[in-house]
């Protein structure tokens, strides 16, 4: 068990900086998820922690020890790859024991440890098989067992579930989370799937273009995004962004489920505690218990999520009302969030910004 610290870590490929000065503390025993769009440098960051890529600049510490110059095998980390990366010519048993043998464990010790792990991940009947004779889910378990058997301080996982079908993926998510609780080691998990990030992580690191956008617990990330990027990246469907009522230098955002939708016929009185827009429904998606409405308003296209109880038809004229407390204010130029106390939403609406 150990915490992992990145200090001003950068990585260049062919003179192009793909990781731009990361400062990050990954607490001991945390389940930290790196999430962000494709190409933002998640895998590169993880691989630098593993030692598979040399950092161009900065310092990486694992449990207080600087590891920049340590080879991967000496960092006391284990990694699970997206495509499993099992040794195809070795049996499941040899796949799991390979790392132990290379660390000088005797045959007897290996056998005890491998059999113990095989029991935990449910591979006991398959130890003699070759990876090619296993299903995708079983291969994933071998990869996990291979990492677990070394009892590393840090587990690194790069999209380990993305090759599994939806059902198995859900099941493995639950298993990984409980595994993390059981082992108590530090997990660093890379994914581009925000649902995976939100359900598994206790600390989420949102990255974009080689930089950290925000580090927070899942619910904080959702409720208090630091900037436009995080606001729009986390949450599905994404946060609606509309121009601010008065000020040119701001934009406002609100979550689709925080808006109320009413028939235009119902009288609407603007008041200081809500933003009101009107428009008409362009399309409707029924998702089961929820319904999504795409509404063309005078402030642009927005999405509203409601429960399915009373359906409105496409084409209907509607009011969209958003309580003031649900409005997020961002600086238009920098994308930075402006804190509630000083964002002036109420003043702007009172000043006649009600539409």
């Amino acid at each position: 068990m150990a915490k992992v610290v990145l200090k001003q870590v950068t990585k260049e490929f062919n003179g192009q900086q793909v990781v731009k000065g990361l400062d990050l503390v990954i607490p001991d025993g945390s389940f930290t998820v790196l999430v962000g769009p494709s190409g933002c440098g998640k895998s590169t960051t993880l691989r630098m922690i593993a030692g598979l890529e040399q950092a161009t600049g900065g310092e990486i510490l694992i449990g207080e020890q600087p590891v920049n110059d340590l080879p991967p095998g000496k960092r006391d980390v284990a990694m699970v790859f997206q495509n499993y990366a099992l040794y195809p010519t070795m049996s499941v048993y040899d796949n799991i024991s390979y790392g132990l043998r290379n660390r000088g464990y005797s045959k007897k010790e290996c056998q005890v440890l491998v059999e113990e792990i095989a029991e935990v991940v449910g591979l006991a009947p398959y130890l003699k098989r070759k990876p090619s004779q296993l299903s995708g889910g079983q291969r994933q378990r071998v990869a996990l067992a291979r990492a677990m058997v070394k009892k590393p301080q840090v587990f690194l996982m790069d999209e380990p579930l993305s090759n599994l079908d939806a059902k198995l993926r859900n099941q493995m998510r639950v298993e990984l989370t409980s595994l993390h609780k059981q082992l108590g080691s530090t997990f660093i998990y890379v994914t581009h799937d925000q649902v995976e990030a939100m359900t598994m992580g206790d600390q989420i690191v949102v990255m974009n273009e080689g930089q950290i956008m925000q580090v927070a617990a899942p619910m904080d990330l959702y409720q208090e995004p630091d900037n436009l990027f995080v606001a729009q990246f986390i949450g599905s469907p994404a946060m609606n962004i509309v121009p601010a009522a008065e000020r040119e230098d701001q934009v406002w955002g609100f979550r689709p489920e925080k808006a109320l939708l009413r028939h235009a016929g119902v009288s609407s009185v603007g008041h200081a505690d809500a933003m009101d827009m009107h428009g008409h429904i362009v399309s409707r998606e029924i998702l089961g218990s929820d319904t999504l409405y795409h509404v063309e308003t005078d402030k642009g296209r927005v999405v509203v999520k409601t429960d399915t109880e009373s359906l409105l038809d496409a084409g209907s004229a509607v009011h969209v009302t958003v309580p003031l407390s649900s409005i997020y204010v961002f600086d238009r130029a920098t994308g930075k969030r402006i804190a509630r106390a000083e964002n002036g939403v109420r003043q702007q609406i009172l000043a006649g910004g009600v539409v």
């Binding site: 593993a50 095998g73 284990a78 790859f81 495509n83 990366a85 390979y98 790392g99 290379n102």
Partner: protein
Amino acid sequence: MRQAGLTAWKTVEWLLLAAVGLIFVFPFLWMFLTAFKTMPEVYQFPPTWWPESWQFQNFEIAWSSGPFLTYVWNSFLVAAGILVLQLLTGVPAAYAFARYRFRGREALFGLTLIALMIPAQVIFLPVYVEMSHWGLVNTLWALILPYGASAFGIFLLRQSFMQVPDEVIEAARLDNASEWKIMWTIMVPMAKPVLVTFGLFSFIYHWNDYFWPLIMTNSNEVRTLPIGISMLKAAEGGKLWNVIMAGNMILVLPILAIFFFAQRHIISAFVYQSK
């Protein structure tokens, strides 16, 4: 209609294969049959197919006309020694060419490919001079050392090492395996089909090689089987074809045996490769 066309095509295919097969098998068959004939029968015209009586003593005559056991042993030492050396040099070279980025890599690999195109006959003179400088002429070393690195082997192995996914090697590095260990426990087993192919090719080539031992050896203690057999011809004035063919049978028998026993492995090696 389509069925009939397909059957016709299959028949043509089989006939072609049979014809090609016959062309390859006929010399072996003729060698085999001649090895059991009497001298007069060998020269008989029109020739007989089947020996009138099976002359097993031809083999005895061939075997006892020289130190054949020594020849066989030498041939084996040379062919096996070359193969071992070629793997010891070729596996690391191929691994480096396939997996490392270093200055001059392309140029060095280009040189290796050029070596592939130079036949032994072109360079035997300087190599001979070198060997004689080292006092190795007329020893088995002169037969083994010049072939200790195979450009062909390096080329084949490099191709197959390049197919190994990066992640597998990275996983091994995380498992604390040294480069040496990765090479022999990860890369080599994954390249097994290519290794089997190359091993057979190299072993057979050097087992059969006539030119190089002819130049480098001049005493029975270090001669190899092909030279021993050619000396049957010299000793008997080139007339005893039945004895020579018996000698040739002794030459090819071990190779046929290897094929016979390794067949399953060879086929599975190729099946694995094409998967």
